[in-house]
């Protein structure tokens, strides 16, 4: 059945799709292909740095590995709930679809919180970037002060790669929020922005990073005002493609960045 050529029964002015699927889905696949090259370049930059740097640090203690493993489990579970949301959408079960989408968002948010905690611990120990504001009282005695000084490639590639992934997960959660809750999601997003902005200290990179949520809320408001619509099963499937891609990328970041740099005593 998968190999069959699409011959629509309804007359149309356009030719049948060469790829056997609808244009929104093809568009998302094309975006994901280009985005995979973005992550490919970042992963290659990390690997390049690692190969060409003999004293590459191994800063991840077992607590960090456990944390990253739980993050992986969160993302894998979110992929399962996402695929069940797609299934509920094609079955026309709107209520179940919404619950599965919310479960996916909850897993994604759990991933983000654990990831932010991991970043916070590393920064508190002195692993930082020049672009990050100095954390008062932590840096001088931190475990990774020498790492940041002697191997600046490590924090640059680590924060660049994981930060880009974190941004993608954040945007994915927002995307799913719009698909499941539409306009109702905007005040929730604004509350999240306020909580993230006011709840983080001024020296935390997340204090300013939280403004991504504000920008997203503005963009969503404009999009929903210009083109209000009820999202159908094809929209849920396309959103699912994006979400699974974010999961897919983590399947390479986790072993390459965390497991290969685990501190084994």
């Amino acid at each position: 059945m998968a190999e069959s050529v699409v011959v629509p029964e309804v007359p149309s002015v356009y030719e049948p799709s060469l790829f056997g699927t609808y244009s929104k889905k093809i568009g998302m696949w094309l975006f994901l292909l280009s985005d995979s090259l973005t992550f490919g370049a970042l992963l290659y930059a990390y690997s390049y740095g690692r190969i060409s740097t003999p004293n590459w640090p191994t800063p991840f203690h077992s607590a960090s590995i456990v944390n990253a493993t739980i993050m992986t489990a969160f993302l894998l579970t979110s992929s399962l709930t996402m695929v069940l949301a797609v299934r509920a959408a094609v079955d026309g079960n709107v209520r179940l679809q919404r619950w599965f989408l919310l479960a996916t968002m909850a897993c994604g948010t759990g991933f983000l919180i654990l990831h932010a905690r991991e970043w916070g611990n590393l920064i508190a120990e002195g692993l930082s970037l020049p672009a990050f504001p100095a954390a008062p009282g932590h840096k001088a005695a931190g475990e990774f002060v020498d790492v940041a000084k002697n191997v600046p490639q490590f924090p640059a590639t680590f924060f660049g790669l994981t930060g880009m992934h974190m941004l993608h997960v954040t945007l994915g959660v927002i995307y799913l929020g719009v698909i499941s809750l539409r306009r109702k999601f905007i005040p929730i997003l604004l509350l999240c922005w306020l909580a993230a902005w006011l709840g983080t200290p001024s020296y935390s990179p997340f204090h300013y990073g939280a403004h991504v949520l504000l920008v997203a809320a503005i963009v969503i408001s404009i999009v929903l005002w210009l083109k209000p619509k009820i999202y159908d099963s094809s929209d849920v499937e396309v959103a699912g493609l994006y979400w699974h891609f974010v999961d897919l990328v983590w399947m390479f970041i986790f072993p390459l960045v965390y497991l290969m740099s685990a501190r084994i005593l």
């Binding site: 149309s12 609808y22 292909l33 090259l37 060409s52 003999p54 695929v83 493609l241």
Partner: protein
């Protein structure tokens, strides 16, 4: 919306209805088990090159499961499968070909 698009969306939705939900739970379980194996291998004091090879092989299996079942590519038409996968793998191979020899060259030159 164009009638062709609606017809195709209907056909794709029909395809989804034919997949058993149990299949997704099996894939999810397999992904979790592979992740557990990866973490176990990390603490086996293996030579880094060997460990990297094994971890990347396991990651490729996980990626194939996600792309094939969760992203539904296994059930798409051949044109979609081949064009998407060949293009991205081709680009990544080009990156490998151009970047990594240089990284190894720096190492052998002894730049610190």
């Amino acid at each position: 919306m164009d009638a062709t698009q609606l017809a195709i969306e209907g056909r794709v939705a029909e395809q989804h209805r034919h997949h058993k939900k149990a299949q997704f739970f099996w894939v999810w379980g397999a992904l979790l088990v592979i992740t557990a194996i990866e973490v176990y291998l990390t603490y086996q004091n293996m030579e880094p090159k060997r460990m990297l090879t094994i971890l990347m092989a396991l990651s490729l299996v996980k990626a194939a499961l996600i792309i094939g079942f969760f992203m539904h590519l296994k059930f798409e038409v051949s044109m979609m499968k081949w064009l998407t996968m060949c293009s991205v793998i081709g680009c990544l191979l080009l990156m490998t070909y151009f970047f990594f020899p240089d990284a190894f060259r720096i190492l052998s030159l002894g730049v610190r």
